[in-house]
């Protein structure tokens, strides 16, 4: 099928002002830039800005500011007042939505239509949702027994990934603030800019100094934050390996942690599914955000008798995807976030081909500069292949088959991960049976990759622990244990 020709429709970057260099946002103000490193636009490898590498001393200063803000202001403020600050932040995010969308696309490489329609509006929605909880926590059903009132932990250290920089920030900061904690947040090394712009939002909202602190840096900064003795709770989203290291580092302490880690979701298509809809779901499941999504539907499990039909429809659909300039409103796929991630995707796909998978990509011309990988389908994948067991975190779909629902469940659950799963069938009873059997924190039936602030998100098994969003997400940020005791379930 020929591709329709579209004239380029680039979003203007004039709406956003990027500073030459950024300091750290500590105690309500920016420090002077120091020990800077560049952050790039992955679509063309140009330098967007220089940001500061926070040292252990900087982490100390930020944690101390958060502690002072917790004890002096935020921990004592009424929930109603805290809530009003969160409402303000939500509104400012909405007012400056276009600016955030452009900045996020420049720094991350994802298409503007995603930052504009998903990342930024959903981030604002998280603040709006949690604002309302701030003065209603005693109604959230979190008490261990009837009498205890939920209390904040204190200072929360948060480390977030590069795939949804602003949205992950919102997932972390909104519940922490609503419950009365103060925050030190480290954005990912390759995507710090939207968090630094968010610091400005905190200033515009007159959020008391020290309630939110943003420190940039690499993994060593994150480690210093996680291991800081005056941090009461850790919230981390990232790889399972780092998640395990964090779990080990806080063993035997009274620090709490929530970990949102990797995934290898099965997207299961039965022969009675509406196949055209299913194909849309498969595409959304693995090519949204270039597949750089922990809950991506990276393993397509298709019933054997419709395998050829589904793969043919899928390839036909992929022929129409537009890969290119993330700032172009017509682009469906943008750039891979970094050289390191591109190398990882490339090497895993090569391993898949070496193990016997057949590789297919639509014809597309990739830009000469920047980090690009075409949408890729691997067929003939078996369960032991690395591309069926390891998280690729890229626009790569591994296709496997099954014959019976029982086999689909066994294959879907045959992973150390357990973050998400998809089911496509017209049969209601089968959807509910499958949903019961799948060991995954989120099950999307006849849809995929849906997110909402009211809907808890988080994994089983090695996809981590704790939930984010909804009533359940509040649980991680409060304690109901008697003040004399620490420990117990985190």
């Amino acid at each position: 099928m020929p591709k329709f020709e579209y004239a380029p429709a680039p979003e203007s970057r004039a709406i956003v002002t990027i500073e030459k260099s950024y300091g750290l946002f500590i105690d309500g103000a920016f420090t002077r830039p120091r020990a800077t490193f560049p952050t790039l636009n992955p679509a063309d490898e140009t330098v967007l800005a220089e940001v500061s590498q926070a040292s252990p001393e900087d982490v100390d200063t930020a944690v101390a500011a958060a502690r002072r803000a917790y004890e002096g202001v935020w921990g004592r403020m009424s929930g109603a007042e805290r809530g009003k600050y969160l409402f303000r932040i939500a509104r400012i995010l909405q007012e400056r939505a276009r600016e955030f969308a452009v900045l996020e696309t420049l720094d991350n490489g994802k298409p503007i239509k995603e930052t504009r329609d998903v990342d930024v509006p959903v981030a604002a929605a998280h603040f709006f949702y949690h604002a309302g909880w701030a003065d209603k926590l005693e109604y959230a059903g979190l008490s261990a027994s009837g009498a205890d009132v939920p209390r904040p932990h204190g200072v929360v250290g948060q480390v977030i990934p590069w795939n949804f920089p602003l949205l992950m920030l919102a997932w972390k900061i909104a519940p922490a603030l609503a419950t009365g904690n103060t925050v030190v947040l480290k954005p990912a090394e390759t995507t710090p800019l939207s968090a630094l712009l968010f610091a400005e939002v905190c200033q515009q909202a007159d959020l008391p100094a020290g309630v939110v602190n943003i420190i940039t840096g690499d993994g060593s900064t994150g480690q210093a934050l996680v291991e800081h003795p005056d941090v009461d709770k850790i919230a981390f989203t990232g790889s399972t390996d780092v998640g395990k290291a964090i779990a080990r580092s806080i063993a035997g302490t009274s620090k709490k942690a929530t970990l949102e880690l990797g995934g290898k979701a099965a997207n299961i298509v039965f022969d009675d599914a509406p196949l055209d809809q299913a194909v849309e779901g498969i595409v959304n499941g693995i090519f949204f955000n270039q597949g750089q999504v922990c809950c991506a539907g990276s393993r397509l499990l298709v019933q054997e008798n419709v395998h050829d039909q589904v793969v043919a429809k899928l390839k036909r659909r992929l022929d129409t995807l537009r890969v290119g300039d993330p700032m172009d409103k017509n682009s469906d796929l943008g750039a891979i976030n970094s050289r390191a991630q591109l190398d990882r995707i490339t090497s895993l796909v090569e391993a898949g081909v070496a193990e016997g998978a057949e590789r297919w990509s639509p014809e597309c011309t990739l830009p000469a500069k920047g980090y690009w990988f075409p949408p890729t389908v691997l067929t003939g994948v078996s369960q032991t292949h690395r591309v069926a067991t390891e998280e690729i975190f890229g626009p790569v779909l591994s296709v496997l088959t099954f014959r019976t629902p029982q086999e689909a469940v066994a294959k879907a659950n045959n992973t150390a991960y357990g973050l998400s799963a998809g089911v496509w069938t017209e049969k209601g009873s089968r959807i509910l049976w499958m949903a019961d059997q799948l060991k995954a924190g989120v099950v999307w039936a006849n849809t995929f990759n849906r997110f909402d602030p009211t809907s808890p998100f988080g994994g089983y098994k090695e996809s981590g622990y704790g939930r984010e969003g909804g009533r359940h997400g509040l649980e991680a940020y409060v304690t109901t244990a008697p003040a004399t005791l620490t420990g117990a379930a985190r």
Partner: protein, 295 residues
Amino acid sequence: MSRLDVRKTYKLYIGGKFPRSESGRSYEVVSATGDFIANAAMGSRKDVRDAVVAARGALGGWSGTTAYNRGQVLYRVAEVLEGRRAQFVDEVGAAEGLPARAAGAVVDAAIDRVVWYAGWTDKIAQVLGNLNPVAGPFFNVSAPEPTGVVGILAPQSSSLLGLVSVIAPVIASGNTVVVVTSADRPLPAVTLGEVLATSDVPGGVVNIITARTAEVATWLAAHRDVNAIDLTGVAGADGVDWAALEAEAAGNLKRVYRPALVGGAPVEPDWTADPGLGRIRAFVETKTVWHPKGL
């Protein structure tokens, strides 16, 4: 002439059967006053592994029963416990050094605790789950599911009330368990195994290992097919470093129920206090299911 009584052989409880330790070892159990009571099986690493296999095997069936059914089975446990009340009063009295009256109160509290949890089984999803009003045309529901196979280090002091207080909330939601008993007061746990075996609790749902805590705790904490571990029994256990156990548990990201701490040191909780929902909540996973609404 007084009659010579028939003594009981105290063994492990794994997969619904009562084996001796595969290691062939046993150890002396003495009363609070130091008198010999019995030889208990000294469970080993292999016994722990066998118990995990049994617990994993029982998980599908137990988590798949209706909550109503699990509630009735737990209530049946209370019924059979009540019938064995006198035996437990003797064993708890000897283990904990309590006079009959005080031991009786402990046994009564243990029976009542099981009844309390029996009534929880079909309320958990209602209290811990909910519909989510997402901003779009979707049905969206979050509900708790059992975490899976749970390892429990049972409290060292409270040999029956503490023991049922850590097991009941975990199996109420549909988990299966491997329990390492109090090292020095293991006998009421073995008798509890006999109660479970005659209460319609399917074999493998609760597996009971009498052992030296320090020896087997590491294997349980490190086992890759265990989904969660309750470290309550580190309080007062000889030679157990709970930080090391928690670090081992990170190998497969087990959910860890930490011991209660006072001044940084593990303490055994007050088992007579209102147990609350904490132990139920700690061993469930929230699953959220989405489906579009439309014509």
